[in-house]
Amino acid sequence: MNQIAAKNGKPLSDADVGRAQIEWVRRNSPVLDGFVRELLAGGELKGKRIAVVVHLEAKTAFLATILADAGAEVIVAGSNPRTTRGPVVAALKERGITVVAAPDGDHHTWEQELLAAAELAPEYIIDDGAELTMRMMHHRPDLFKLLKGVSEETTTGTSRLKAMQAEGLLTFPTLTANDARCKHLFDNKFGTGQTTLQALLKMTNRKIAGAKVAVIGYGYVGRGIAQYAKAMGALTFVSETDPVRALEAHMDGHTVGSLATVLPEATMVVAATGGMRAIGARHFDFLRDDVVLANAGHHDLEIDVEALLAASSAKQDTREGVETFLLGNRKIHVLSGGALVNIAGGAGHPVEIMDLTFAVQALGTHYLMTTPLEPGVHIIPKELDDSIAAAKLQSFGVTLEEIHADQNDDFGLDKEGI
């Protein structure tokens, strides 16, 4: 951001730079800045303590300011020690928002940050991986009991919340943002798809035309990556364990097969299963020389880098973000040490995508405050989900077709399915 300082003639503080970054997000987030802002203006958030625990960069910061503008007492922590951005922290602090995160942290400092957030006794949490929710349960059961609701971002966190519910530990309602269509249909597919390709090409300076790209897992993330790679001229391969998804990949025009058949062809491999060890020791023999491996799933362990290191005769730092392992006479390149490549190696999701995802989170939190719900795991109602998409379309000037009575068939079935 030095360029900003030099161009505008006066030296800028960290907070100035952070403010500029947040402003860029605002101008590209019509749903949060319009529809969500208006809906929260009813005053229901006034005085409520909300902890926001998401990768702490400009998009998350903008969400925090929206909640603060609606009257909430916002506490901000990061969901990963390496993704917290200094200028953004400075800008948030400057406008009086409580930030318990600092840049350049490690796992230990991050633990301290989450415990500090817990001490501040939030009533609501916008959580990522249920990281803060779980820590409050373990470390501050007294404050955990006072929690009124949690809105969770990821599939991983949803599983954790469901496990807690099964054990009868959830004393408050939770919402799973990932299950909203306005989240997974866009964030997982288009957001991760696009930015994974960006990171792959930026980090390697290689071409996509004619590249042989294997995608492991054909969930929403895998679909997005395969779709963008194919559209850009790659030969695409998909490996999947679910027969229905595998059939879908086949009809989408990708070459589908087991890893044993797909990996020997691939020049780039992207793991997108959301599980662990999608590429493990049993697959190393299938990898060809000079292959690039990247992870687009939640776990750093989706590529088993430890097993790769154990199997290698040497490892070297090849260039920024690229490590090369020597397996016999084959060179295997791993991006970002196996961490989520679009976040570790890029700028994270596009702003417009997070406009949708954070609208789900903000409206979900509002819903938790205004609607009596049983303790447990819930999904935001379809009407709220739809209203977010409608607001986004309106910002593009797109009009919807209306359904008329004479379009129903003789059995008068539900509109759904037309």
Partner: protein
């Protein structure tokens, strides 16, 4: 504090790592290097490499050196990567380049570079060839020939030749199919669209993207923008190219017609004033302008700067407020964004262009030095050799040309 020798050594190591990474994606250059080395043809020949100085072109310089040539390297400060300079020096090459130096220093370095008495020049924009003709005619007399990389260099060389001023044969690598069909379309197309996304952290999905000019670069930009979900509108002055764009599935309109919905404009013409100042007020608020392949001269930069409202709103994003109150954003100061804000073309694409340069050097030594001064194409055999080696590396195979097929092709 580290002393300067230590800093240089660390830079050299960083540069060497990046050169090594690029080398892995350049198998064609390696095959040609080995062949030239075996031939002994380059022994005792002094070659000057004057391209944008980064890891891919460094591999060309090293390939020529490994094949037996003595190599000097020159580059302007604005296009130089210092870590690559140090890495090449550590390999024993003479390098006349300093990252970030000013234009006066550029000329001084170019003079010193020429005074090393080059037999062959590989040039970018014909800047060194022109300087040599103007200031060092006696050095030009002893040169065997030159090779030129770009369109903007070939044009003035032809003018020099028409005026009877060109004193050496020059091979125009730029005009090779193996260059412009790949470098311009897939290289510049991919890298400019991805640079736009990297700079802005935005999407192209659903956006109206106007591609000005449907030459090779324009086609590449349109292809990759569409792949990222954009609705592409092409503007073109040539009716045949415009018709091609229609058949490729794009809307084709005049820029004035398309402007009111143009959310992003890529200027891909290489022509001064391709986007006229009058277009600015027609654009929607917040429209983004950038250049693919050419330079800021394609955009109405003077009109924008005259507004006096420039504000940098994000790294490499300048905002201008129009008299109407609408804003216009310009990326990378209007420079070609894949060079100003990314690492240029992908490695494998430059493997093709730079291999052609190595073959041009060979051609100059074996035959072209006997030719009259002028601008010549690279040989068809060289082009095919490059394509064949790359195909093999891509795992593709060719259909064999049987005697029956050969006969059928020649039948009439």
């Amino acid at each position: 504090m580290m002393d300067s020798t230590q800093t240089d050594r660390m830079l050299a190591e960083e540069g060497a790592r990046n050169i090594e990474w690029a080398k892995q994606g350049m198998p064609v250059l390696k095959v040609i290097e080995d062949r030239l080395k075996k031939s002994g043809l380059l022994a005792g020949v002094h070659v000057g490499v004057g391209l944008v100085l980064e890891p891919k072109t460094a591999n060309l310089a090293l390939a020529l050196k490994n094949a037996g040539a003595s190599v000097s390297v020159y580059c302007q400060g604005s296009s130089t990567t210092q870590s690559v300079v140090e890495a090449l020096r550590a390999e024993g090459l003479k390098v006349f380049a300093e990252e970030g130096c000013d234009a006066d220093r550029d000329v001084q370095l170019a003079r010193e570079y020429l005074q090393t008495k080059l037999d062959i020049i590989i040039d970018d924009g014909a800047s060194v060839i022109r300087l040599a003709h103007k200031e060092f005619p006696e050095l030009v007399e002893s040169m065997l020939g030159a090779a030129e990389e770009t369109t903007s260099g070939v044009r003035p060389l032809r003018m020099m030749h028409e005026d009877g001023q060109l004193r050496i044969p020059v091979i125009s690598v730029n005009d090779a199919e193996t260059k412009y069909l790949f470098d311009n379309v897939y290289g510049t197309g991919q890298s400019c669209v991805m640079a736009m996304l990297d700079i802005t952290n935005l999407q192209l999905s659903g956006r109206f993207v106007v591609v000005v000019g449907y030459g090779w670069v324009g086609r590449g930009v349109a292809k990759y923008a569409a792949a990222m979900g954009a609705r592409v509108i092409v503007t073109e002055i040539d009716p045949i190219k415009a018709l091609q764009a229609v058949h490729d599935g794009y809307r084709v309109q005049s820029l004035a017609e398309a402007a009111p919905i143009a959310e992003v404009i890529f200027s891909a013409t290489g022509i001064r004033g391709a986007v006229a100042p009058a277009i600015l007020e027609l654009l929607p608020d917040g429209a983004i302008l950038c250049t693919a392949g050419g330079g800021p001269y394609e955009l109405p930069m003077a009109a924008l700067q005259a507004l006096g409202t420039e504000k940098i709103v994000r790294q490499s994003v300048a905002e201008y407020v129009m008299p109407s109150g609408k804003t216009v954003l310009v990326l990378g100061e209007g420079d070609c964004i894949n060079c100003s804000d990314a690492e240029g073309n992908p490695i494998e694409i430059m493997d093709l262009s730079l291999s052609l340069q190595a073959l041009a050097v060979e051609q100059i030594i074996t035959e072209a030095h006997k030719w009259e001064p002028g601008v010549y194409p690279i040989s068809t055999e060289s082009e095919q050799e490059v394509a064949r080696i790359r195909l093999e590396h891509e795992g593709a195979s060719l259909e064999p040309l049987t005697t029956e097929l050969a006969a059928a092709i020649r039948s009439w």
